[in-house]
């Protein structure tokens, strides 16, 4: 978070350095409660997580803690189950982000033009995102994926496709639910991007004889690029943390085939009660997230520059 100090463009009042110490604190006043609260609720727990990651610690035996050095990191990084969780997390995230992005873009292109009942269609479209994820997961697990009574098999039966979705294709089943849930999110960002295009430029291109494909490739796509980047990064950050769908639909299984990192850490902590290893895995995830986040912050801050 090394955002450089902005050029002092204080819109009003004296420059900061002319203020007395008391005045400066008075100005900071409104910020402090929120700032301190967030630090207390997020940074302090995280520091504890770092501390635990160097301890041999078990939730069931609170008195047996001892310093463990990097042993937890060693055993986590050498754990095939951890590697498996990393691989599953990548597959789930990439699959769901890409699928929902492509679908979202297509739907946004459709919704960008006027037609009868556009508002209603948009309202219908965003609903999957609003349904409580736990409820959505149960709905898919039962009514959609069930091998005998599921709607998916019923719809696909004319094509001869029958499957026990959750057991035969566990990762795909999770990706489909996540895609269903996140497509509206992608669509909304893409739609905002499309609608922020200048209508004059588009009209001028059309008058100059550019066909819809040329308009999309030359004007819309370059304009959308930043929105696509933002959608991918925000989508990744949210979807990497997927827990609800896995907990409700597969419990990480069959075997470990859908255990992603959040579920892996959950199992370590609350089923194996191995606090040290769970914490070490948590720290590793945070470090990995921060790497992704650096890119995210850069994109967000580029949007942010335009404001001033």
């Amino acid at each position: 978070m090394t955002a450089q100090t902005p050029p002092e463009t204080a819109r009003r009042g004296p420059r900061t350095r002319d203020l007395t110490r008391a005045e400066r604190w008075l100005r900071r006043g409104p910020l402090l409660p929120g700032l301190l609260f967030v630090i207390a609720m997020t940074q302090i727990p995280f520091l504890f997580t770092v501390y635990y990651s160097f301890q041999s610690s078990n939730l069931l035996r609170p008195d047996s803690d001892s310093f463990a050095g990097f042993a937890n990191y060693g055993s986590v990084l050498g754990d095939p189950l951890f590697h498996n969780a990393v691989a599953n997390t990548v597959l789930l995230t990439v699959g769901a982000v890409l699928a929902s992005l492509v679908l979202g873009l297509g739907l946004a292109l459709l919704l960008d033009r006027a037609f009868l009942g556009r508002g209603i269609v948009r309202t219908l479209m965003i609903t999957p995102f609003l349904v409580m994820p736990v409820a959505a997961a149960l709905l898919w697990k039962t009514s959609m994926y069930h091998p005998v009574y599921g709607l998916l098999n019923w719809v696909l039966s004319p094509f001869g496709v029958q499957a026990d979705w959750v057991n035969d294709f566990p990762l795909l089943s999770i990706v489909m639910v996540l895609t269903w849930q996140w497509t509206p999110f992608m669509m909304l960002i893409m739609l905002a991007g499309l609608q922020s295009q200048s209508p004059e430029v588009l009209e001028a291109a059309r008058v100059d004889g550019a066909g819809p494909l040329a308009v999309f490739r030359r004007i819309t796509f370059p304009h959308l690029r930043r929105f696509v980047e933002l959608a991918i990064l925000l989508g990744t950050i949210y979807i990497v943390q997927t827990f609800d769908a896995i907990y409700m639909i597969t419990q990480g299984g069959p075997g470990q085939s859908t255990t992603n990192l959040p579920y892996f850490i959950y199992l370590q902590a609350f089923r194996s009660f191995d606090v040290g290893e769970a914490a070490a895995a948590g720290v590793i995830v945070v470090v990995a997230t921060l790497v992704v986040a650096m890119f995210a912050l850069r994109v967000v801050s580029s949007l942010f520059e335009e404001e001033s």
Partner: protein, 296 residues
């Protein structure tokens, strides 16, 4: 696909149209029903599972799991009364308490902070903003253990107040970024006029700024409510029975091979409805909330 490119290609013309009419026709794009129909079809497809959940909640269990699926049936409220009879209400009240209180707290803490980070611009305002953003990037799994241990040591496990605080911290960055995005949009002239009249900061806040960003605050509150209401990870790990929220209630349906689809659907509908309604009401601002104010 351009409607009219040159006079000879004019679709309506048996005679070549006059130049003027070509110009005019170019502006009017032809009505093409296909994209609209496709949008409707896909919209209904995406909505269908939700509709199915809603319908199934009004079925008898014997109609809920059939092959082929049952589309026409005599609706019944049996499942709803069964769910409410299964102690659904305490979960509902916990959810209401945790999400409403945390939303209020997020606004109460977020509004002054957003003000300090936009209109006043305290020193290092940009660093502070990005600090708040970075906490959203911290995966909940990295914080749950210490929160669990701290709460246990304080005797605050299974307490709706603990969840309230956690949700406030979860939503505060969103609230700050979102409120800030509304504040920076305020016309400068209005603020300057208020300042000219010698309005003090607090008066300015109350009399001028607050009424102008009231819709933005409402939208922010709805977004915070949505996230808090749907939250599951902290709820399932920090509560046991007393303070459990609605998502935790639904966990009870995992076992037993999900034999009670109709009852499950009724419960899911009740669980999901508040947020669906809030989201429909806030849909104009949904994207702004989800992108922390970056996309308007």
């Amino acid at each position: 696909m351009t409607p009219v490119t040159a006079p000879p290609a004019a679709p309506s013309g048996t005679t070549a149209p006059r130049p003027g009419s070509v110009r005019r026709r170019r502006r009017r794009r032809p009505v093409r029903p296909l994209p609209g129909l496709l949008a409707w079809a896909l919209g209904l497809l995406f909505f269908f599972p939700v509709l199915w959940m809603f319908l199934t909640g009004f079925k008898q269990e014997s109609q809920a799991s059939t092959n082929p699926p049952t589309f026409f049936f005599q609706p019944t409220l049996d499942q709803y009364s069964a769910v409410i009879g299964r102690d659904f209400v305490p979960y509902l009240l916990n959810s209401v308490q945790a999400s409403v209180l945390s939303t209020i707290l997020a606004i109460v803490l977020g509004l002054p902070a957003a003000y300090a980070l936009s209109l006043v611009r305290v020193p290092a305002w940009r660093d502070s903003l990005f600090f708040f953003l970075s906490t959203k990037l911290l995966p909940p799994v990295a914080m749950i253990l210490p929160l669990y241990v701290i709460a246990r040591n304080l005797g605050a496990l299974d307490d709706a107040r603990t969840l309230t605080l956690v949700y406030t911290a979860m939503n505060l960055p969103i609230a700050i970024w979102m409120i800030r995005s509304f504040l920076v949009e305020l016309p400068k002239e209005v603020l300057e006029a208020a300042r000219m009249d010698g309005a003090r900061r607090f008066t300015e806040m109350r009399r001028v700024i607050l009424p102008m960003i009231a819709p933005g605050l409402a939208a922010t509150a709805l977004i915070c409510f949505i996230f808090a209401w749907n939250e599951f990870f902290f709820a399932v790990n920090l509560t046991a029975s007393q303070a459990s929220t609605v998502p935790v209630f639904l966990v009870g349906f995992i076992s037993g091979e999900g034999l009670y689809w109709a009852r499950l659907s009724a419960a899911s509908t009740m669980a999901a409805l508040p947020v669906i309604l809030a989201g429909w009401a806030a849909q104009r601002w949904l994207v702004r909330g989800l992108s922390l104010g970056a996309v308007k």
